[in-house]
Amino acid sequence: MKTLTVSLNYSSTEYSPTSTQHQTPLALPLRVLDADGSLVAEGVASSSIPAQFDISHVDGPAFVRLTWPSGKTQTQRVDVKEGGAAQVSFNDSSINRNEWSAWAVPRLGERTSLASSQDAPNLRIDKFDRVWLRMWTFENSVWLPSLVETRASYQNDSARQLDFELNNRCWLLQIGGANVPWRFVALPGGGTCRVLLTPNESDDPRAEPLNVVVTSFRRDAETLLEFLARDSLSAANSVAKFQPLAQQLLADKTEDPVSAIAGAYFLLRTEGWRRIPPSWFDNLYQSFPWLADPAVIRCVLLIRQGVSLDNDVSTATSLLQTCLSRGVPVFSEGLSLLQEAASVLRSASGSARKGAFDQVEHLVASQAWAGAALSFYGATPDKPSPERMVGLPAKARPVTRRKSIAKTSRASAGVDITTTGFTFLRDLK
C-alpha cells in the first residue's frame, strides 16, 4: 500500500479581525494525477485538516495538483515506494507578500501583483485615488445611502483593503470614478466583512479597471461559491464533499444563514437539493427576513420540482416579489436563479414585463462581475442600468455617449445622488 498525505499550510489566509464570528478555514481541492495526467484520486485539504490518499495503484511518480478559485494550479511531484508513505505540503510563500491581503490572492488571476514582490508601476492602486465609494443599506423597503465607515483599512502599492462591521441588513458598496464605471457590490450583512480593491490585471475585454473582492471570512462557503461562479463544478464538488460541506452549511443555518445560503446554491446547481428536506429551505426563508437570497432559493425550488397546483405559481411569483422586497441577493448565483424564476413564471403566465419581472430583467441586464458577490451597474440600487456611467456623482457621464443620463441619475427613489455624500478611496482610513 502507498499512502499520500497532503497538507495546506496557508496560515496567512487566516488573518482576520478579532470580531469575526463565522470564520472557517480555507479548503482547496486537490487532484492526484499519474504521469499521463490521468486522475488517480480527488480530495480537499484545509489549513486544519490534511487530505489522505491511497495511491497503491499508481505505477511511478504521482503528481498532486492544487487548484485555486481563480483557476491557477500548483503541482508537486511525489515518489512513493510500495508499502511507503509520502507527504506533500503546499505553502503560502508565493501569496503572503502582505499577510492582510493573502486571502484574496487565490481568487485573483494567477499573475496578480499582490503575489509578486516586484513593483508594477502600471498596476499601482494610487492611480485610483479619486475613485469614490458610498454605502447603501436597505431599510423599510428603501435603499438609503451613507458614508463609508470602516473598522480598519490596509494599503500597499497595489491594493487597498477595507474592513466593515455590518448589521443584519442588505448592504451594497458603490464605487465609481473618472474611468471606473459606477457599480454596486453586495456585502454580506450580519458580521465582519472585508473588501479588497486592486487594479484589474485580466485581459478579458469585459474586465473593469478596478477589481473588487469580498470576504466575510466564511472561507469554506466562499470557496464553494467562487468555484460555482466560474462554473468549475468538479472543484466545487470536491470542496462540497469535504465533510460534506453543503448539507452541513444548510443544517447549521440557524448559526450562520449566509453560509447556509451558499450551501443551498450549491445544492441547486448540482441537483443535490432533492436529498434535502424541504423544511430546511423553508426555515431558512422564514428565519432570516433580512436576507433576499432564501426567497429566490425557495421560489426556484418550487419551480424546479414541478408545480402541482395553479396556486403554486402564485406562491412562486409571490416569493419572487418577496426576494426583491428584501433588497437584492448577496451572491451572483442568486441573480441567475432570479432570472430563471422570473423568465419561466412570466412566460408561463403570459404576464407583461412589469413589476418584479421588469425589475429582475433590468437587474440581470445590468450585471457586473465581482466573483461570487452580486454586482451590477447603475446610479442607485433601485435603478440598475446596463448603461455604464463614469465620473463623480455630480458629473455623471455615460461611458459611450448614446443619450444623456443626467436625468436618470438624479430621479430615483427620492434620493439625489449628486448631493449624497461619498468618500474618495485615498481618504479612507
Binding site: D36, T75, D203, D204, D231, S232, V344, A348, R353, A365
Partner: protein, 389 residues
Amino acid sequence: MTTVYERNPPVGPGVHVLAIGVGRYPYLIGGSGRLTNNPLGLAQLSSPPVSVKAVIDWFLASLVAPGTAGFANPVTSLGSVEGLASSDAPVSVASAGGVVQLEPATRDNIQDAFERWLAGLTSDDANIGVFYFCGHGVMVADHYLLAEDFGRSNAVPWERAFDMSNTLRAVEREAKGALYFFVDACREVSKDIALTLGANPSALKAVDLKKQVARRSTSLIEATGEGKLAFAVEGKVSRFTEALLTAMSGYCGVRGPGSPTWDVDGETIASAVRRLLEKGNKTAKRRQVSDQAIGGDSVPLLRLQAPPLVKVELDLIPEPMRALARMYLLSAKGVLHDHDGANGAFVTEVPRGMYVVGARALAQEFRDLTLEDQDLIPPFFDLTLQVQP
C-alpha cells in the same frame, strides 16, 4: 425537412444533434427583401453557413470516412442530426447516405426541426442532446436568436425569432439525459437598447411548470461576453466554432480513476474553448471570450480512446541564443521530444501529462534551463524560456 442522419435501427441511447446556421437575413441590412422598420443595425453574415456545415461535418466525420477525427462516443453513439442553413448559396453536407442539401433556417423550419430533435432526444432517458446555433442574437436578460425571416412582418417582427433561454428551460423538463447548448451568436445590440425593444419572442417549446426539471446535466456554452460581438473572418468558420471543434477534436479530456476512456464533458469543453479564444486574442485585432453555465452531473459528450493532445509552443529569448539551443520536452514516462532552435520556436503536439521542459546550449553558450514537473494541460502550452545574461 432536413434530417441529415438518423441511426437505423434507433435502439439504445444516442446523441441527437440540432444544428442551425443563419447567414442570410432578407429583411435586415443588405438583405434581398424589404428592409424591416427596425433592423437593429444588424446585417448579413457570411460565417454561419460555413460554421454550421463544419459542425455537422464534424459530427458525421467518422460515419462518412471511418478513422477521421470527429465525434466519438462508444457508449452513446450518434443518434440523429437535424441541420438548417440560410445562405445565398445552398449548403450541402456529406452524410452516410449521400449528399444532403440543408433547408433554410426560417422560423417555421426551425420549429419543425426542433420538434423532430426533441422527439428523438426524449426517446431514451440516457440520450444526449446537442443544440448548436450560429447567427444573430439579442441579449436582454434572456437570449433571443433570430431566424432567417426575422423582420418579415413589421407588426410582429419578433414572431420570427425565438427565446433560446426558455427553450432550454423547457427542454430541461422534457429530457432526462444531458443537454449541450452551443450558441455562437453575436450580441452586439446594446443591453440598454435591447431593454426598450419590447422583444418577446416565444420559445420553441413552452415551459411546462407542472413538470419537474428532469435532465441530468446542462452545459450552455456561448460565444462572446454579453453585449460583445462574436467574431469571424469573412466567409470562414467563426472563432468560437473553430475553438469548439478544435477542443472536441482531441484537445481536451479527463480520464477518471479506473476509466478506460478520456471523457469530455461540458466543463472540460468550456475551459478548453475559453483558453483557445484567449490564445487567439493575443494576435486577433478584437478580443473574444466565451461564457458558460454548467449544472447537474458530469455526463460526457465524448469518450476518447487516446489521451488528449497539447499544442506546444516553446520559445527561447534572447533570439540570437535560440539558434544555439536545443529545446526539449521529456515526459515523466521518459519519452523525449526535442528541437533544434536554429529552426525557430519549438512548435509541436504532445500527449497531455507531466513533463520536464528545458533547453540546452549546444556548446555551453548559456547555462542549461530546466523546468521540472510541468503539467501540460490541453489544449495548449506556451512558454518562453529566458537565458539570463
